[in-house]
Symmetry: C2
Subunit: 318 residues, 2 copies
């Protein structure tokens, strides 16, 4: 049996803008997804976690239960097909996914599924891939499933681990600094499609305005990178509030989150913002006990958000 | 007796940015301040309105009761001194101020006091000033009381009336179009000084970022001007939401207002934003019954916000 652990991630700065060529910063947290790959006579996917709870799908007679489940199935099937096409190998297995959080809350669960399956399944096929290679293949697969869209941020961050800065276009820079975050998430109210539609509507109606907001977010990311290197938590917090306001301007926030962020500021918490794609989802603040209380008041689930340094890990259990 | 009626105003777009050289749009509403000037043997100021309620001050033995009262006294004394210095005339009078709203909620009550006193007191002195002249003198007085700061927006709007666009630097443009607004206000939680300090703090720490946000607000104002001319309420509403997000980024909004604006968007109300200096104060939305309900839920006082076309009016009652 192969057990893969993949850290979840938070987007620190630059969500949405990253899709339009701006930089972004993400980091892996202590919450981990587990994927077990057990040699089997049939190809079976099993999960007892949250909204992909209790499903057991025979991949040969695949049946899609929900948008989320469908997406996860697509990632796994695409991974299997990738290795069949690239190295001409296939082995049947029971793939078991155990996620500590619900999907689509901005914590990189999709990327974790791809990265974990690529890592575990390649091991099952006898390959010894470097983390960098796992990241590269996972990004390729995620992108193909999403129809050519998406950024390398999630797959590279969860595969490689740590605080990761992504410059526009290519490459990444690992920032070896400490960072303390309080985080939580609420179930999404708007779907990804609805959220992207809102952003697109502003882009279509007021393109120059949209571009200016996006480029301002890009500037925030560069400043935040500097602040992380300088361990300037106060500046970092200020930038979180500014980034949040711009995300509100783009229409991707929600009443309880705007209220929380605004209240956090009034209380003197250094920084808070929505994190990830929006329409609900994750909220991050500079580490603060009061932030946990605020998160609880809007019914958010607090997550274990210590920033950790490792990416994906693979263990063979015999 | 001379009775002066001065309309209050709302800032439609561009608050804060206007102080840094960007354009802005304001409009007079149907709520009016009344100032009565009655010849008298002493110079007396009287007001029964709200927070300048019940005061009766002998201007020769002036005593400041509060920051607000002090400001209003300064405006009136400066007006009296202006005419003494400029035309060498002074006449004692009972100056009675009746305001339908509290001061410092972003509705131009300060400007209304100056404009009304200039209009009424100049009449008492036998001068027949044009509205344009009243605006010019009022702006000069307001600026000198505020130590050289401030914009011409409030005094010119309340003196001249209507929807007024203020380009950077000089001049104004009256927009002869209809506009329907729902508005309300809450008591300010932060003082003007605190609010300006927040804005200043971002400006000092992140000047380029600050400038980019300010210039984005400037772009919103230009687009809003176009949308008003085109009577495109949908675009205007969208721009209100974007403007609000940028004001949140500048740190001048408050939890209940952020929550209200965000909820309004969720409900499908075309547009909502904070209006005026922030730290509490006014909220405007595109005209919508649901906006009135939202305003009530945060304890806001709904104001009579039909956009009216006249500015200051002077009546002599014998």
């Amino acid at each position: 049996m192969i057990e893969v652990k993949i850290p979840l991630k938070i987007t620190l700065f630059g969500e949405h803008a990253v899709v339009y060529g701006e930089p972004a910063i993400a980091a892996t947290i202590s919450e981990k997804m587990k994927i077990r790959i057990i040699p089997n006579d049939k190809m079976i996917l099993k999960s007892n976690s949250l909204s992909i709870k209790g499903i057991k799908v025979n991949l040969d007679e695949m049946k899609l239960e929900s948008e989320e489940t469908g997406k996860i199935l697509s990632y796994i099937l695409s991974t299997i097909n990738y290795f069949k096409d690239e190295i001409g190998k296939q082995k049947n297995a029971l793939i078991e996914i155990e996620s500590p959080v619900e999907p689509s809350v901005g914590l990189g669960t999709s990327a974790a599924v791809v990265v974990g399956t690529v890592a575990g399944y390649s091991k099952l096929l006898g390959l010894d891939l470097e983390k960098e290679e796992i990241a590269k293949i996972s990004y390729k697969i995620e992108k193909s499933v999403q129809g050519g869209l998406g950024s390398r941020m999630d797959t590279y961050t969860t595969a490689l681990g740590g605080i990761m800065y992504f410059p526009p276009k290519e490459g990444y820079e690992k920032i070896n600094k400490k960072l303390n975050i309080t985080a939580g998430y609420i179930r999404r109210i708007a779907t990804t499609a609805e959220t992207l539609k809102r952003v697109k509507s502003i882009r279509e109606k007021d393109e120059d305005l949209f571009n200016q907001i996006i480029s301002t977010i890009g500037k925030i990311v560069e400043k935040a990178k500097k602040a992380i290197y300088q361990e300037n938590e106060e500046e970092l917090g200020e930038l979180m509030y500014i980034n949040h306001g711009l995300l509100m301007a783009l229409g991707v926030t929600l009443p309880p989150i705007d209220n929380l962020v605004s209240t956090a500021k009034t209380l003197g918490i250094l920084g808070c913002k929505i994190s990830g794609g929006g329409g609900g989802g994750s909220i991050i603040c500079t580490k603060d006990e009061r932030a946990k209380i605020l998160l609880s008041t809007i019914g958010a689930k607090i997550i274990d958000s210590d920033i950790i340094d490792d990416g994906v890990t693979i263990t063979e259990i015999n």
